[in-house]
Symmetry: D2
Subunit: 380 residues, 4 copies
């Protein structure tokens, strides 16, 4: 019997355009899905670039004006993989046109934008989701299960950091392709929205809401040439951002993100200390979960390095055999599969736009605290 089709239009052909395209291509090979995702069209600003991208990834067509994609009747799902300053406009238009909407993180440049995006998809009652992909690293998904089962007991501490080192050189420009993340007008913020947002999304999912924060940010390189204008201009993003927090469940949080941690490319780490057990995970070895169980026999207690490649680990029965690891891109495949399964079940897969808005409230509070030098209450 022929599967139903899910006709997809992807807006954006950069790094995230690639990961999303791959996700929709791979998902039906490895997961039994009711819908067959169809790569109908991809849209980038350059018609030539769009055509090339489409040819490479097997899209049926290409576009250079995203509004045309939204107007197309043959598109079910608009998937936004563009820089942050365009998320709101595209998402709202897509929702109003009755399309399903998926959006690369962060949802908006700030909570105000994100709120309008939530309002739009909820008014339109369209399925919606944000690509906070790290929830679907099998090790992280397993952590979620363990916490929900009560295996950690009462939680005392949550720690997360996301460390990179790619902007240490003062020669890295701001603005332009590949470096728009350094341009505050495009990105909204620096590492707070780009990296901390990942840490926060996972934290809210694993450990519940954050009540208050006190934070600080720093811009180590004060001026950079702008890639498009060629002018040296003040850098307005945060190069580094850190905050202390109190969760609703009484636990303490420490969060940090930076692009000035020499030696770390994309080291997202998280650790949770509970009364009965603790968990540690890091993105540089994403296929492992560190687990300490106080219930183990005393003399044999130790941190276990669990190689998350077995059939009884989340998602892993869909891949290879025990011992054979998967990588970064698979988290997007899992998310695409879960989105589609959600359609079949009539039950939205998380994180929805509303879920992602909660992260924006935290990042806004962190930036506000960095400016006010006060503890700030997180909205919501």
């Amino acid at each position: 019997m022929a599967k139903k089709k899910l006709n997809i239009g992807i807006i954006g052909g950069g790094f995230m355009g690639r990961t999303h395209s791959n996700a929709f291509r791979q998902a039906p090979e490895f997961f039994a899905l009711d819908y067959q995702p169809v790569l109908k069209t991809v849209c980038t600003r350059s018609a030539e670039g769009a055509a090339k991208f489409a040819a490479n990834w097997g899209f049926e067509s290409s576009e250079s004006d995203w509004r045309k994609v939204i107007e197309r009747k043959d598109i079910d799902l608009i998937d936004i993989a563009t820089p942050n300053d365009t998320h709101e406009t595209i998402a709202v238009a897509a929702a109003q046109a009755g399309k399903m909407v998926m959006c690369e993180k962060p949802l908006g440049r700030n909570a105000a934008e994100a709120e309008r995006m939530v309002a739009a998809v909820e008014a339109a009652k369209v399925p919606n989701m944000v690509w906070y992909n790290y929830r679907r690293v099998p090790a992280v998904t397993l952590a979620k299960k363990l916490i929900d089962e009560g295996r950690l007991g009462k939680i005392f501490h949550y720690r997360a950091k996301f460390l990179q080192d790619w902007t240490i050189s003062a020669d890295v420009p701001q603005g332009g392709t590949g470096t728009w993340r350094l341009d505050a007008s495009v990105a909204g913020s620096g590492v707070t929205g780009d990296l901390l947002a990942h840490c926060i999304d996972t934290a809210l999912w694993l450990n519940g809401g954050i009540e208050t924060v006190t934070g600080a940010t720093e811009t180590f390189v004060k001026q950079r040439k702008h890639a498009t204008t060629g002018q040296v201009a003040d850098v307005k993003i945060d190069d580094a951002s850190m905050f202390l927090s109190r969760f609703k469940n009484g636990s303490l949080g420490m969060f940090e993100a930076t692009r000035y941690a020499r030696g770390h490319k994309a080291l997202y780490t998280l650790e949770i200390n509970g009364e009965k057990a603790s968990i540690f995970w890091d993105l540089h070895d994403l296929h492992r979960l560190q687990w300490f169980d106080h219930g183990d026999e005393g003399r044999l207690r130790g941190w276990r390095s669990i190689h998350i490649t077995d059939g009884d680990h989340p998602y892993m029965s869909h891949w290879w055999v025990p011992g054979l690891q998967i990588g970064y891109e698979h988290t997007f495949v899992h998310q695409a599969a879960d989105f589609i399964e959600g359609l079949s079940k009539g039950q939205a897969a998380a994180p929805t736009f509303r879920d992602a808005l909660a992260t924006e409230y935290v990042t806004d509070a962190v930036l506000k605290s960095a400016a006010s030098k006060q503890w700030e209450v997180v909205k919501g």
Copy 2:
């Protein structure tokens, strides 16, 4: 301009059928190739299974008689992903029909079979390759470069082992789907041909020829039920196999494979100690290379854990961005891409059938030594 097509027929729809299918699907998305691989047909013993596999992976058709695949005019490449006892017959027939041939490892059940396979492809002058995929783990490829550049200096020691634990239970049957590797008539040998062969292929590539070996094998569980007959029968494969060796370059080798190493799923490790530097790699963290350079300043010498995810690491510029790891299946994608690039260049990519024959000479010598309890000279 339309690409040339490479029309592929895959024989076998098990675990390796999946990895090969994925490889040919993914290669052109990530590598700029002159040929577009086309999944023309897949063949498994069950017509129904073949159809289902074809539908899942996007093959244009399916077959249940491999001879028909070879007869088809629209097939350029026969890719063998069946159990070992069928490799020779299929490969020889394919070569005689003028098809390119790729074959899952080990090439044959023994060197005699492998020699006939080499003879067939060389007589037919058809491109041919064996899926010793671990050569194309980026970390292993980098190791090869470093050795070839002389960065290790004279080599003293080579160590490799491949440890699994999936047959410890006496309840695992021999024969049948998924467990044919325990049936000597199908597999040829046990871990020697299955796991040690990987270690040997890499070793010959990195460290050159092996002259002599002394080995020992063991079958811990002496009898097992046969999955197809239901009869309890003597187990004739080796559960564990180990050997000492002398390489042509004067270095010493230690090799071991087993399916009785509790706690290890697929732990292929290799270490090379040279005069100037040493290398360590393991499959459970395949995205890392351990590197010790004696040329470093004395007080700061130490083993470096290199996260092989940067653009200047082999193959990695084709994937994501620094810090984001790839996994097991990518080694097959690399091999598919290299095979196709070889076609473009008119230069066969290694390992060819002849390269793989050298591994068979070593495994034969190991098994001979295990029986003779003597050092044996490796042929070739």
Copy 3:
């Protein structure tokens, strides 16, 4: 030629009494010192306990009143290894009696006490030192050298934490032997003075002064039985303490200490990210230093795990041979040796009382900030 003698009276016979006694016994065996330390007397509240301790460790005598030790003419050095609430009184009396003074950390229960202690030893012009022993872990000492040589370049980030898990159970009492650290009247504070103080001392040494902090503390278990009175009473110490900071050199700091991190016994970790290189160290593998050097060839960059056991590593030429690690107690031996070498050179070894006072200013600011919920300026 007979060595000069350094006659020592140790006050306190608990855990720290043992480490100090061992340090003075071992130092002259492994270091060529001008002074021979002589264990003249040990003093504990119980005469019987003191006698037993003295017999075990080879002290010539024992006392149960510390004032008598100070009065003794045959004592050159008073070494304080008692709970925090007695440090000031003993140290001031010793200094006024013209004795050299060594004191277990933290110097006082707060900066006010510590200031009076500094005033006393400086007025008396007696050699003085505080047992912040982790400066003399060879790996940490090497880190200091590397920083001072400019090998890290400009520093961006400093992170330290000290994680324990021994007070999670509500059954652990406060007060009394072994648990006085939970009694605020004796300890002054909880983990801030006990654990964070170590992190801060090392940080000030490695990375210079801290200007401002914002912190938070938590007491997870609100009431505990008091070991001496038997009464259940409010717990007034901090179970966990964390703060953000800005260093004078422009770098950002994150610090945390807790006794509620399940799975960690004494995990003091520190990481420093500089423009050119980064360093990581942890107490659970104190004989290793992790080093990342951006100056390494690009494709071979990685974190090095340096096994700090070679003759060209700080202190290590005094011990065994390469590859053979030392442990915790050796840091005290190094400190005892350095104190004595300081006497020979007429140059006080750090950290002096004044150096340790700087740490008290930070811990006071952290506790003040935790109460005020404001950023606080660090005195000094």
Copy 4:
């Protein structure tokens, strides 16, 4: 009540003289022993050197003729810490004089010497022990307990290697102080007796007897200058040695030692794979034990890194507090303490001379096999 005294004469003032002296000094501080070890005298070839050593370590006297030490009435225990070629003569003479004898490993240069040493101590019925110190690394002792308790079940594999890199340079001389281990006439053999012997002693203790072996040795640098004669001479020791073995319990063994493994200073590693559990340990992190328990819940199975610093770990209640590691020298302290406790109990602590003879039978068989190129049966 005054303790009984154990009057000790140590023969040898090199590296091992230091470790033994320290062991006897430290043991009574940390262990409650019935006997007080007394460092009566130390003997080295140079009277001046002996006097200096005695002064440093607190010996009451010094000697330069070991026969005089044996003649002394005030000596109870002769402890041999000299090069291998003197072990037999000194030990036999000491036993014949009725002294207790402790001897640095290996017992003799070969089994013939060792047999005569065993005969001597057994004829004299004197307490005797060999310093195979690695049995008393707490992690290794714990491994022994776990095996004896049946926690691993049936054993399939035993692997051990001892890797060093200090003789790679052809400029390292043979013979003389510090390099006598390269002179076959003094050392007996190369790494086989020096390093493999450690691996074998532990293996026999943990896994029982070895029946047969096949081995190979290599001398990479064929000629070296002799440190005492100044003449370039053939090197007769083995630089590297490796062997396969079959244990009496049916398990397979792989052993290797070398001084040509660049990057490893003293990397003794061992791994044991059993039906139910596996163990890994290495000397470069001697305070950890890696433990995999198949009895753990499936999805949470993983190798545990046990930080062996708790009170319920062997020997550790005598040292510091949880989380604080000990080092290399402590293994000797434990052995000294156990020897003395054995005296109190009238029960010899292992390994006795007879226990150590079993190791010599294996090393002899390995060297014989390396020459014969045959499997050899291990005597005993």
